[in-house]
Symmetry: D2
Subunit: 332 residues, 4 copies
């Protein structure tokens, strides 16, 4: 389903080259003060234009369609939409028969019997993450004083990210990266022993972000090489503070009050300028494909703010379930 959450619930809609993209939020408490300006910073962080990102630039102005009144949320469903203006659909006209390797062109066509809007990836496009970021802005306000910070810590296997991007551009190629996410002031006790473990919910939301291929919490894959005596985080006091944080802030699927810490692997953008081979789905023959369109060399550059958004969304939902956020916000 194109929705997520039990109490603070979001659904996204739209296509890369359609009229709009946006997000519907159901279950947001009434009384949260929100203005259009609140969205500016995070939308800007997601925006393209910098080196390594696509030359398609959109205004990305949020339209607060419903669920707001006199500057506050009303408790009714919130719809936020964004117009698509800078589309060049003609770049995509060949891709219906020539699926781009590594992209959803082939799976989308098969799943939807060829009825999918394939222009610019349609509903699979990274442009849809704009709705996630918008919902994340609201979620971040709700979960205060929890603070979330994600950053790109490695790209193309290098910690000098600028250098890695230059190399990829020169090669007409693309690169991936590693994004780390930290959250402070997370309260104890969120998550469930089975099925809705905290890791389950975060990873469920995170793998909605296009191009993510792995996630690890705390010491993650490294923990598989450690002894229990090294990995076990020693408790310091009755509030649950620990000396180390190999658990990443989670024990038994439940937050333990220490900082939340996880990392995700972002694969290289599948659309590259370099020529590739693919199958002509009409003829069944292999042919050369030179992708036109406008693409990100390193989509991982734009992932941190989206990762923060989905983390905030998961936390907002859980904090409402755990009654850490009231049903009506009274601001003083």
């Amino acid at each position: 389903m194109n929705s997520f959450g039990r109490i603070f619930k979001i659904s996204i809609y739209g296509e890369s080259h359609g009229n709009q993209v946006g997000v519907l939020i159901d279950g947001c408490p009434a009384g949260l003060q929100i203005s259009e300006d609140d969205f500016t910073e995070d939308i800007l962080r997601r925006k393209s234009g910098a080196k390594g990102t696509t030359p398609r630039i959109e205004e990305d102005k949020p339209i607060l369609v419903s669920g707001f009144f006199n500057g506050f949320t009303t408790g009714a469903p919130i719809l936020i939409s964004f117009q698509n203006k800078n589309t060049k659909s003609e770049d995509y006209k060949d891709l219906f028969s020539f699926p781009r390797p590594g992209h959803a062109d082939f799976t989308g066509k098969m799943k939807y019997g060829g009825f999918n809007d394939f222009r610019g990836g349609g509903h699979f496009s990274g442009r849809l993450t704009l709705g996630l970021v918008a919902a994340g802005v609201i979620a971040k306000k709700l979960i205060y004083p929890v603070s979330i910070q994600a950053k790109l810590v490695e790209a193309g296997g290098e910690s000098d990210i600028n250098k890695a991007i230059d190399k990829a551009i020169k090669n007409e190629d693309s690169i991936g990266g590693i994004v780390q996410c930290l959250a402070e002031n997370v309260s104890i006790g969120m998550g469930e022993p089975f099925f809705d473990s905290f890791e389950s919910l975060i990873s469920h939301a995170v793998f909605s972000i296009p191009a993510i291929k792995g996630i690890e919490f705390g010491s993650g894959f490294e923990s598989a090489k450690m002894f229990g005596s090294e990995h076990n985080d020693q408790l310091i006091d009755v509030t649950g503070k620990t000396v180390t944080n190999f658990a990443g802030g989670i024990n038994g699927g439940i937050t333990n009050g220490n900082p939340l810490n996880f990392r995700v692997a972002v694969k290289p953008t599948s659309s590259i300028s370099k020529s590739q081979k693919t199958i002509n789905l009409d003829s069944g023959k292999q042919e050369e494909l030179k992708i036109q369109g406008r693409h990100d060399v390193c989509i991982a550059l734009r992932v941190p703010v989206v990762l923060e958004a989905v983390t905030a969304i998961v936390l907002a939902d859980l904090m409402m379930l755990e009654q850490k956020i009231p049903r009506v916000i009274s601001q003083s």
Copy 2:
């Protein structure tokens, strides 16, 4: 919530030292032939007793309580229960005040206000995975001809797993490991672009298994170091077959018909024989803790069959949604 799935839906219940553990399955098609013998192999694979596993041995005989009639599923909810017989609760009596480092003792106590059954980890115990395995047996039958195989490929950082376990036993310590899971004959088109991507659903289910701290699909974390031109799997034919499988069988969150391939990181068992420091929650003082109980040196040894089970459960749910499994099975 302690349940998972939209159409083929499972819920687990029970405690390590309570009377029973078990699973409730709702939405299983009628007409699936099932006998108690069908459970034998997978339950045996999960069982302890071998080197590196706990000396607590239970009979683990499945009781088919409801949802079966004349050897077939009826379409009504299925309850399968297992008796707990070999419990030594006195080993745990101190742990209420002395949380084991790395374990859910502390988070469980905080979340449930001290009302949780802490004996043997209570509802957090790995014993609960018995219900997952039982549900997995049914799911595996439903998803035929999809076949799933998981195996431990590394323990304590070594590919010689036997050696790694000997070392951990000698040190009165514990180790983790890496488990790989492959699924063949997965049909094209399962998963959704956003929120219910195939990776989202698998990871949601996988992080229910105690001790899992990371998951990666296809080339996973390695993909973050690759160029797009390397990582993009070249299509060979119109059925979607690819030369390489760095995507792990998934593009844009949707299965692409190639084998599903993912790996999980299992942390070292948090209960170790070696003495550790912890906090006395009553006095607030640091004290030495020598864990009595009976524990696995390498819980990763018992993870493969559980990983297969949750993968089968996800596939059964999605295949029912995609109408690849009928609502009534007609066996010939």
Copy 3:
């Protein structure tokens, strides 16, 4: 939650005097041919303007925002919106402190701490049913050859509905009515024994329609006065056809293949022109209230098409679950 359905899932949004109202549909199969003209008839049936309905007239032109491409559904989320143009918010400015008796003004204010958009009833307005009707148009196409027909069979206790409305208008008052709904060609086997009985799902959806205060299936309340020997519908043949249909097409919560038959009670519109007493929520004093706004004398006149819509939505969801509607529609 402001959403309904498990597979064919709808969410509505908007406010009476906001910018838009609309509906988000998730899980609609790809390949369904839809044009704006398909909506005309049902939207017209819901429209006001006739005797007994409000003088507020809106254009009600559906905007197919997302999920459509080249005249077909794509399988991606469908957003359909309607502009609000003919609003007179000044009529409502007093109602924040003077709740209209029988209306949601009081409960809305209490639930949302006074942050709700109270203009014209805000999100509680009957205008929101426009989204239901739009989703119903799509659902009706999906469930073909099932056909649904609802009609107003009684208003203000009279079968001469015209006469009843004249009387209410003359009295500056409002009246309710009884709406009957029939569905033909419903297949056998939809619904579940417990919790998701067919009656449970229909009534859940039906009580979303403002002003509905009762529902009965088949002989309904009359059945409480009958003997079993009278009420039991005699089976005629192996397809399940029965001589009578006191069951309304449902046994044990499951459709039995006979026509579905149920009736709903619609209360009189709570907004009336006549002067009423209410409480001034600021002063706590009783005062006279003369409602300005524009209202329906008999909202029951506009209920039949909405009742058909929600019935179609329930059937579409269940028929997808029961695999009676494919995931991709192939039209010939």
Copy 4:
């Protein structure tokens, strides 16, 4: 699905002539004090044995399988089971081919392809309501100080219920009835404007109870005959108290703080002693059916406690959502 609720979630399982029936409760707060004695009164009220009820008498002793520790709920899933002992399955052996008119025999067989356990109605049996009553006992404790009272106010069209039952017994027939349910101390603000209106949730749960064919809130079907000026409940004070309660305690789908009031229609038991005609599903011929088994002459006699139970379950779920019940109960 055989489950209900979003936060306080119940699932039932079992068959009339299987080994057990029972209920799984997920999401119950930790710290609620519960003993087996707490179940006695409501189980006794549901029990058969009195005039007009079935001669099949079961011990109905609740077994608290999981989720309890030291006399309190733990926060983990609660399983409560009941043994079936007094079964006479041979009475039912013919019914596989001879569906009882008015019963789920035919729909159950069609839905589940003949794999359903048809003995005594299997999973469709009224015996399954025992699990509802058990969950209701817990829910009633949680929602305190809300109190719920349901009673049979009419049977077979008579207010002298005893007389009506005597007549039905003499005729070898069965009768239905009307059950009224009142709840006091319900807080303001529960329910949602659309889809999860309070009436939607109550009716969803209520139509899970076998034999219910109608529900009406407040003045219900009578409201369709009233003028708005009569029906609108006049507000008395700022707490929302009204002079009349035609709304049944609900406006706009939201509780208004006045007593909740609704009535349900129970059809006559479909199993009667009198001979009836039915179809032989094997031969397709009409034949006489003389039902053996043991049945209730007036199942409505046993409905009140079940109706209270499902009402309490809905309220518990909503009160948790609205944060009126904490996640951990601290009893003093």
